[in-house]
């Protein structure tokens, strides 16, 4: 085995690692009711919102951190985290991109997301979260013509309180789990999307998240509501600057797909995974869940390559008859990264269908676990599930696990689950090399082939990025 090449791969520096110097209006570390009140006041939230946060906070205090996931990390001191930070230049909101802090814009350019170009070329509306506060939202007008609401969640609280009251916490209740409760108490910002009845969202919606402030936890809250017969595709991509201290990240994403609606949610996650000694990196504890009503469809696609710890289970509650849930995932871990990720498909309605395709790749000394639940409730007449989890091991010090929970209470439901684990086969490598490809190229091809089923589900822009990400992480990784 080409040990050296593996070493090379492992030593690859984090390509998006840099740190922007912008003054921040940051709260000192610590968490108590006053902090919750401060955040709420800072956002000029109405009383009911504050009350909602406080309920969550009180519930959180009663809860204990879950320990069942197959990850290990030093205990997180929740009092050592600062729960609010906003770029200073936010005091007076920029009206256009020209007014945006040039330092900020350069950050995006380094990341390869020139906003100006994207506005024109990509046709992607950006709701950029730069440390907790939406800095700028583009394409708002074009969307509003179609009746689509796409704004930051704090703006939505002001402008559309009825919608927020109705849907916020309807899929992931405040007390759902430890991190969701924490998020509900202190969420700083995030996106709100509302697609009215019968509307097909004219463009793909996208948010880039960045964590920029040292010691700042990031607690986004995303809520997407697709009314009857509507359709939306949402893209989420993440990358964070290099730093040494662990950062906590606990996001909550809620999707509501009403009758005949369709929501496609795609993620590329490339947060800082820590260095080759396992120092630093983001702790990513995410709760993502969608409810699909009659004939609705929810599709999760994720490419997870970053974070030191990933704890993430995008789930579908297939409530309505004939609703469809999909989960396509590529999770790659390297060095000392640990991932425990998967999905839950809860079949409640008749003839509900779900598909799970999960591809795990572990390299270095990392650990990569798929954890999934497929549940057929007594009412899930004629429901169907197909699950395939494949793991690829690169190097003999990594680990790959599969923990699928399968529960069926309806005889007419059909569940199929398959999982395999293997390394990049010597035969395949030999074949490619014998045809004149070098070993690196061959591995890259094989890994790309391994992930193809998932990549083809990604929107174009992301498919390119995802392929690139894997290549960066896996060049030279000849098993």
């Amino acid at each position: 085995m080409a040990e050296e090449q593996v070493e090379n791969l492992i030593r690859k520096e984090y390509a998006a690692g840099f740190h922007t110097l912008i003054d921040s209006d940051t709260l000192p570390p610590g968490l108590n009711e006053d902090v919750v009140r401060f955040i709420s006041a800072k956002k000029q939230e109405p009383e009911w919102m504050l009350e909602w946060r406080l309920q969550a906070f009180r519930a959180w205090q009663e809860m204990t951190e879950p320990s069942w996931a197959h990850v290990s990390y030093p205990p997180v001191d929740f009092q050592a985290i600062s729960y609010y930070s906003a770029p200073k230049s936010m005091e007076d909101r920029p009206k256009s991109l020209d007014e945006v802090d040039p330092e900020l814009l350069r950050t995006y350019e380094k990341l390869g997301i020139p906003l100006h170009e994207q506005e024109v070329l990509a046709g992607v509306a950006m709701d950029v979260v730069f440390d907790s506060v939406s800095v700028v939202t583009t394409f708002r007008e074009k969307l509003s013509e179609a009746g689509v609401i796409f704004c930051s969640i704090s703006e939505a609280v002001q402008k559309y309180p009825e919608l927020i009251k109705k849907y916020l916490g309807s899929v992931v209740p405040q007390k759902d789990n430890y991190y969701a409760a924490l998020n509900s108490a202190v969420f700083s910002d995030g996106s709100f999307v509302f697609i009215p009845k019968g509307v097909r969202c004219p463009m793909e919606l996208s948010t880039y998240f960045r964590i920029n402030e040292q010691n700042t936890g990031q607690f986004e809250r995303t809520l997407i509501v697709a009314e009857e017969g509507s359709h939306v595709s949402y893209l989420e991509g993440c990358t964070a600057p290099m730093r040494d201290e662990n950062q906590m990240h606990a996001a909550v994403v809620e999707l509501v797909a009403l009758d005949n609606a369709e929501i496609k949610y795609s993620t590329v996650q490339n947060w800082y995974p820590g260095d080759e000694n396992g120092k630093g990196g983001i702790f990513n504890f995410v709760t993502k869940r969608g409810v699909a009503h009659t004939n609705a469809k929810i599709s999760w696609t994720q490419v997870e390559t970053g974070s030191a710890i990933t704890w993430k289970y995008p789930s579908c509650i297939l409530k309505g008859d004939n609703s469809v849930g999909e989960f396509y995932s590529v999770a790659l871990t390297n060095n000392f990264q640990q991932a425990d990720t998967g999905t839950k498909m809860i079949h409640l309605g008749k003839n509900t269908r779900s598909t799970i395709i999960s591809k795990g790749i572990s390299a270095g000394k990392s650990s990569n676990a798929y954890r999934g639940l497929v549940r057929m409730n007594p009412g899930a007449e004629g429901a169907r599930n197909y699950t395939q989890c494949d793991s690829l091991l690169i190097g003999d010090r990594c680990a790959a696990h599969t923990f699928p929970y399968i529960e069926s209470k309806n005889p007419s439901a059909v569940i199929e689950h398959e999982a395999t684990t293997s390394k990049v086969s010597d035969d395949q490598l030999f074949l490619c090399q014998q045809r004149g490809l070098d070993a690196e190229k061959a591995v890259s091809m094989i890994v790309n082939g391994f992930c193809r089923e998932v990549f083809k589900e990604l929107p174009m822009e992301f498919a390119v990025e995802a392929g690139k990400l894997l290549e960066v992480s896996l060049e030279g990784a000849v098993g």
């Binding site: 599969t402 699928p404 069926s408 309806n410 005889p411 059909v414 569940i415 395999t420």
Partner: protein
Amino acid sequence: MTDKSITDFQQQALVLAGQQTSPDWLAGLREQGAELWSSAAWPSRKTEHWKYTPLAPLQKVGFGRWADVEADWQDQQEWLDIDATRLVFVNGVFHPEHSSELPAEVVRFGAAEGAARAVIEKHLGKVVDAEKHLFAALSNAWTSDGVLLHVPANQRLEKPLYVIHVSTATAEPATANQRLLLVLENGAQAEVIEHFVSGASEQNGFVNGLTEVVVGENAELHHYRLNLEEENILHVGGVHVDLQRSARLRAFTIAQGSRLKRIDYQVNHRGEGAELDLQGLYLPRNKQLIDYHTEIRHMVPHCTSKEVFHGIVGDSAKAVFNGRIYIHPHAQKTLAELSNKNLLTSNKAEVDTKPELEIYADDVKCAHGATVSQLNLTALYYLQSRGIPRAEAEVMLNFGFINELLQQVAQPAVRAYLGPRLAQLFSPNSELLRHLSYE
């Protein structure tokens, strides 16, 4: 439940342990077991290994006494038609009248001396990890009688060992303990059949049956565990195996009956080239609950394991299956497979299955698959279109589903015994069974 307080059942079990008499040299094991048992937290729904299997029946009934042998159990029993060394235990008590004369290889713990005792002391309680298996700790605490099979190096056990455990209904709910230790030295060969049965009348006992197995280098064991008790019995048991270099274990198990039946299979591949072939069937009906937990640990390179479990769950019954394959670092070139297929035949039936892979080595090939469904409607239609009535077609397909494994059973007596009995589960009407073949 508060952390430190132990439950009523735990308390009762300790009292029972105190009532057992046993040779002095077992005292250490028993004390350790009692210590672990009383310090362990009682499993709840949040205990991963007992997530789907509530132990409430144990708490509710209250098993405050040891069972004793009572009359009229003989007539109801039908046993395997096999030329074997037969040992009969009734409610955990050895029954010499119905048992064969013991060959030199088979020794009861109470009668063990010299070399046999040394073998027991070397292995008993060492294969099973009582810290992880609560009821193994209990079995240790309860050890009094038990059976050792010790096959010397390069020898073949002449006749299969056939251990029958009969449970009978007693006036009050009572408890029985069953302990078996199978040691095959290098190059030895043996066949062992464990058969759990109970009288047809109302059962109310609790059986804790633990088997430890050591298969030496290049030795081969065929092991059967048939759990065919009636409706209401509670049974917790385990088979824990160490496989040495190039050892082979071919195991078959079936579970049927019982309000609560939990059986653990733990197989440790400790020597290179060890092979495991494990097949199982479970057929819970009425309000029964059957739970199989298997854990295959590959600790060294070049081992293989193949595991297949099929289940048919009817009425309001529930089946739980947990199949874990654990590959240690350095256990390269491992081949491990697991397949679990389930049929649900009723609206109230439930299956909870979890095939797990935990892998710490890269050059391995591991796969598992699990399915849950009802009978294949296309297959039913096909048979009907050939003029076979639906009821009969269902019986054929159900039986075919388990016969797939039954056919592979090596011991003809086991096949012949199980075939007709299992077929009858699918229909009491023998007309519908006329086309089934049991060979």
